[in-house]
Symmetry: C3
Subunit: 282 residues, 3 copies
């Protein structure tokens, strides 16, 4: 797969870019996608005309999901830190939240793990009522999520609902995501694209400098600090290294995790049903 482009950038106009995840059948996050995301964010940071970027998916049923644990992950661990000293993944997310471009996640299908984290790093999230499912499945696999959902979800929906979302590791459909503030709104699937396009059209017609000066002040009130994000990342790395977690992931892979089928189609149920024997204290 290496070298293949799985994330497509379409410039609908100089001001309106569309970034489409196109890595069938699961839109699973392969390590090779990290440099692609990096390149796109760098382009968004440096282009002078782009005002709005929409992230969406070309793969039925999946917006963007978690890391591909079947891939060779060695490269990932050894990536040099970014400019802020953070690991490249959380750093890219923070750069997206601060880049001089308004970012919108248009969510159809499953957004979990890194897919949910990318959506949370965007400025806004709109979900298909029928087809969107958001989650942070990690705790169900013995992992602390690494890309900031503890910091982001707590700020969006408060401590109680954030703990439910993250500790249950369960699927959150569109309407519940709207109730909890996980997404801005959940819209009928047939209306989602039209709604997002109209919103982009409005914002793209406004003055870029004004937009960015305004957003900087929302970020002051709404974005977590790098230190808080780093603390979450370190907990993620530590959890990944534990033998119990390695066992847990191996067991889940044995049952279909990271491959097309029921495991990924119903990930919330899957991690809930297949509790590792070591944990069967109930």
């Amino acid at each position: 797969m290496k070298g293949q482009i799985q994330i497509k950038v379409t410039k609908r106009s100089p001001a309106y870019w569309r970034v489409t995840f196109d890595h069938p059948p699961l839109n699973i996050f392969g390590p090779e996608m990290l440099p692609q995301v990096n390149e796109i964010i760098t382009a968004l940071e440096t282009d002078e005309q782009v005002k709005v970027v929409v992230f969406d998916s070309a793969v039925e049923g999946f917006f963007l999901i978690h890391l591909d644990f079947l891939a060779n992950l060695d490269d990932l661990a050894h990536l040099p830190p970014g400019r802020t000293g953070l690991h490249p993944w959380p750093e890219m997310l923070g750069r997206l939240s601060r880049a001089p471009v308004v970012s919108i996640a248009s969510i159809r299908g499953r957004a979990t793990g890194m897919g949910s984290e990318l959506a949370l790093a965007c400025d806004m999230r709109f979900a298909s009522r029928e087809k969107a499912i958001l989650s942070q499945f990690e705790v169900g696999a013995g992992l602390v999520p690494g890309g900031g959902p503890m910091a982001q979800l707590t700020r969006l929906m408060g401590r109680g609902r954030a703990l439910e979302v993250i500790l249950s590791a369960d699927d959150i459909p569109g309407d519940l995501a709207e109730l909890y503030g996980y997404v801005n709104r959940s819209l009928p699937d047939a209306d989602l694209d039209g709604f997002v396009d109209a919103l982009v059209g409005r914002i793209a017609s406004f003055d870029k400098r004004t937009i960015m000066d305004t957003r900087r002040l929302v970020n002051v009130a709404g974005l977590p600090s790098d230190i808080e994000i780093e603390s979450g990342w370190n907990a993620c790395v530590a959890s990944m290294a534990r033998p119990a977690t390695q066992e847990r992931i191996k067991e889940l892979i044995g049952r279909g995790f990271c491959r097309p089928g029921e495991a990924e189609n119903r990930l919330g149920d899957f991690v809930g049903k297949h509790a590792p024997s070591m944990e069967r204290t109930q």
Copy 2:
């Protein structure tokens, strides 16, 4: 208009004051209203019996809207700073949030710009489901909002929804305002006054010292610092001074902005449709 009173104070009882914006036909915020607001807030700060103040409107269709850009704005720029060093407008809002009186915005009609900012500085906001429309239209006019909505809305509804409200510069009707937490609740228009009166009656029957000691602690958790508000105000002033913004406002005025008619009746649509040519990069 100078010298005329456009904001009426009615004391329904020593404990319950009503402040009514009565500046037909638009309840537009003329520079001459600033000293009137200041006087009212000073009275609220110093009166020993008032416990609750309700802000409402006597003008059909408009709660309180933005600055009157057709007025002579020179005085506004040269007003001496208030006690905290902030510009008088954001300072008055902060004083209202901290004054020893519970403040409630009862919103019928449009609340945009300074009208929305005043509502956000109140302790609570209740909206007519059929008749309330809230917005921060400023970004659509090339302006960074100056009275704190980046700080306030982000704390009320989270970063994602705050960015949508402020960057879309679009109309937010009562029910969406309730979903997003822009208002406490949206009520059927026929129930709004009765609901607010009953709530005021309750609170006004309680001990003032207890109310204020309690509210001070909510403010610790929920109010932005003066420095954050000042940063927003400075961004507003800088945006106002840009030639592109001046052009933009001139163009909008040419199309009916700040005068009765379709522009103000449908301000969200208006700023979305009439994008300045310089910004037509799409």
Copy 3:
């Protein structure tokens, strides 16, 4: 009553404990319950197998309500401070929020005063749509709430709704509690137990270390500091000492407060209707 156990701990499994308030007829919080709560929290802090604890009630109509003002409260005032220097009550709540166990309030009946504060200290709150009523009634009795609701509710629902809940001192039924984020969700009464059990089953099957490392990071973003809580407690103690408050509580007791009947069955109405004469400024 002293020495009697009013809070029952059932271990459904080593990982899943149930703490049931069983102090009929009101589940009123007697001073003798404080050491019982302390003992339970200590057990939750030190047990190595427990992963989830659910708080519920065995008393029809009441989850857990306020302090019993008919009891001898001398002991309460003279309790030595806890490890953090806080009064034992707010300290226990903070310990619960940080204990290495996921805590869930399953709310049927009234949760007010300390009952609401305990629910807010839990990680999650689920409410019976038909039978749950939450409130902080204190301001209606001339008291500043002492167990942190100004800090907690403001973080859960924003300043405007928190001020409404606390300053109105009124009853908040299940659905409104859900809209405001006072609870995670309001569920049909018939579904509540099944929902909570399923959620507990999931979480109890996951790795305890992972759960706790994850929750610690949500706490960083979502829990108030001890200093903020202490400030609220001090305001509570000061309000309690005021003669006006003592008069107010005496008057309410004369009308049925703290005893079975209409006063406690409709506490929101009760404190709203019986305003003390000294406060009749309307």
